[in-house]
């Protein structure tokens, strides 16, 4: 994580020294995008949600308290809520329009990528992909990742272990 320039943007009644939003956005953009890509399994959706996440973060920047956790964890929480809202909306739309098949096709065309590991990742569930993204790619520690996911640290660890095992097995199968 890059070092950001620390400035005080708080009012007297809100004595929280937080870094500037621009600096945080610059340093955490790729991490948030990576997380959303793993969570959604779809590049175009991840890109849209990344923009949406930072817009939300910009609106609620005053609510970020560095004493409670890192900016990355805070952004990931927003990203997750944004993604779940997206999934909810998609779910309603699918039910309403019954176009699940077509949407699935679109998702496969615009997935994680064509490589071996990307293909294996695509076969994991979204819950498994997101824990891999948070812990391995974004390098959040166990408790922070668990807090982002809204589960216990033990459950987070178990989920990560299971996801990595499955991923390894799938890649091993693909080689043979």
């Amino acid at each position: 994580m890059k070092v950001v320039s620390a400035v005080t943007t708080s009012w007297p009644g809100l004595r929280v020294d937080r870094p500037s939003f621009s600096a945080v956005a610059e340093s955490e953009l790729d991490a948030v995008h990576r997380y959303l890509l793993f969570l959604t399994g779809n590049r175009s959706v991840a890109e849209d949600l990344t923009g949406e996440t930072f817009e939300k973060a910009w609106r609620h920047w005053r609510r970020f308290d560095p004493r409670r956790g890192t900016a990355r964890a805070w952004l990931c929480q927003i990203a997750r809520t944004t993604a779940l809202d997206h999934f909810r909306a998609e779910d309603r739309r699918r039910k309403r329009e019954e176009r699940y098949a077509r949407d699935s096709a679109v998702r496969e065309d615009d997935g994680l990528g064509g490589g071996e590991i990307e293909a294996a990742l695509a076969r994991l569930s979204a819950a498994e992909r997101e824990v891999v993204a948070l812990r391995v790619l974004l390098e959040l520690d166990g408790p922070t990742a668990a807090r982002v996911l809204g589960i216990s640290a033990t459950a987070c660890s178990t989920r990560l272990s299971r996801a990595l095992k499955r991923l390894e097995e799938m890649m091993s199968d693909a080689r043979h």
Binding site: W11, S20, H33, R67, G142
Partner: protein, 349 residues
């Protein structure tokens, strides 16, 4: 790798982790531009929701709870000190004799000391005292006699005595005593020693004003009588003489009455009236609080205050507990629903 992790994925899956981290998934340029274009949030005054969002509730509660407890205890102590002080002031205020009429009532049984407010030596005053003493069952008659001896020894007299004793009933003696004002203070102290003082009331009424009015009126009447007598010696028309004679007669009658009243007032000022009741009845409902010192009273009042506050809190807890339970259940149910929905959404994503 933090020590809190239960799985060391970098050691268990080194190759996989390396390959995952090698996946090139940086945000595209147009997303970066979109985020950059947001700029910095404005510096306008934060909304209430923003202010509340940065409040750390758990830490705040940990600080606020002891502050509330300390504040409550402090309020109880202040209440105790203030109320105990007020009680003492009232007791003192009632024993002060004044220029005009005043009544002094001792605080309660058992709390009497030997000192009593005495009459003023410089002014004429109507001094009355009422006192109730509890005496031993078999000592009622002897104590009654002792009371009368005390009064006589002081130059006073017993105006009336009424003693009643009946089998199985508490006995009592009611005495009306007249004591020279100059010695009443000592007499009251002596009488207090005959038993346990249950009740004592003192009444002091200033008579200077009454005496002044009486003297002025007497002087006025004497002047009138002297003038009228002088006029009657001379030659006067018959009707005038008759009217003057009638006025003179009336003035003499008034003078006689006023002189008697003036003597009675002076007698009243010279002899105090003491109503003494001796009883063998056990004192009931003697409040122990009056034996207490100020610190004890303050502690008792502070305890009462805290007990009251506790009762209010308990009442609120009982009344609000269904609401609290329902709210907690609703929150729990909502979170469970959200978690299940999230699992379903992530499974289908």
């Amino acid at each position: 790798m933090p020590a809190t992790d239960t799985v060391d994925f970098e050691r268990d899956f080194p190759e996989l982790v390396a390959r995952l981290r090698a996946v090139h998934v940086d945000a595209p340029a147009y997303v970066r531009e979109r985020v950059r274009s947001l700029g910095e949030p404005g510096l306008e005054r934060p909304a209430l929701a923003d202010r509340l969002a940065v409040v750390r509730w758990r830490q705040s509660l940990l600080v606020l709870a002891p502050i509330c407890v300390v504040g409550l205890i402090g309020a109880a102590l202040v209440h105790g000190l203030v109320s105990s002080g007020t009680s003492k002031q009232e007791a003192v205020a009632t024993t002060r004799s004044g220029e005009g009429g005043s009544t002094a009532r001792a605080p309660a049984a058992g709390a009497f000391d030997s000192a009593v407010p005495g009459p003023s030596t410089a002014r004429a005053q109507d001094y009355q005292a009422t006192m109730t003493l509890r005496v031993e069952d078999r000592a009622l008659t002897s104590r009654t006699n002792e009371a009368m001896q005390v009064v006589r020894a002081a130059g006073g007299y017993v105006a009336s005595v009424r003693q009643s004793t009946a089998a199985g009933q508490p006995g009592s003696a009611n005495l009306v005593l007249r004591v020279p004002v100059s010695r009443v203070e000592g007499v009251l102290v002596q009488l207090s020693g005959l038993g346990t003082v249950i009740d004592r009331q003192l009444s002091i009424r200033d008579l200077e004003g009454v005496l002044r009015q009486q003297r002025a009126r007497i002087l006025q009447l004497r002047v009138f009588i002297a003038r009228a007598t002088e006029q009657l010696r001379g030659a006067l028309p018959a009707d005038v003489r008759l009217r003057l004679q009638l006025q003179l007669q009336q003035a003499r009658t008034d003078l006689l009455r006023l002189t008697g009243a003036n003597k009675a007032t002076l007698r009243q000022a010279s002899l105090s009236r003491v109503s003494l009741t001796l009883t063998t009845q056990k004192a009931a409902g003697v409040p122990k609080s009056d034996h207490m010192g100020r610190v004890e009273r303050a502690a008792r009042d502070a305890g009462s205050f805290l007990a009251g506050a506790g009762a209010v809190l308990l009442f609120l807890l009982i009344v609000l507990s269904p609401v609290i339970v329902l709210t907690l259940a609703a929150v729990w149910a909502f979170r469970a629903y959200r978690r299940r929905e999230e699992r379903r959404l992530l499974a289908s994503a």
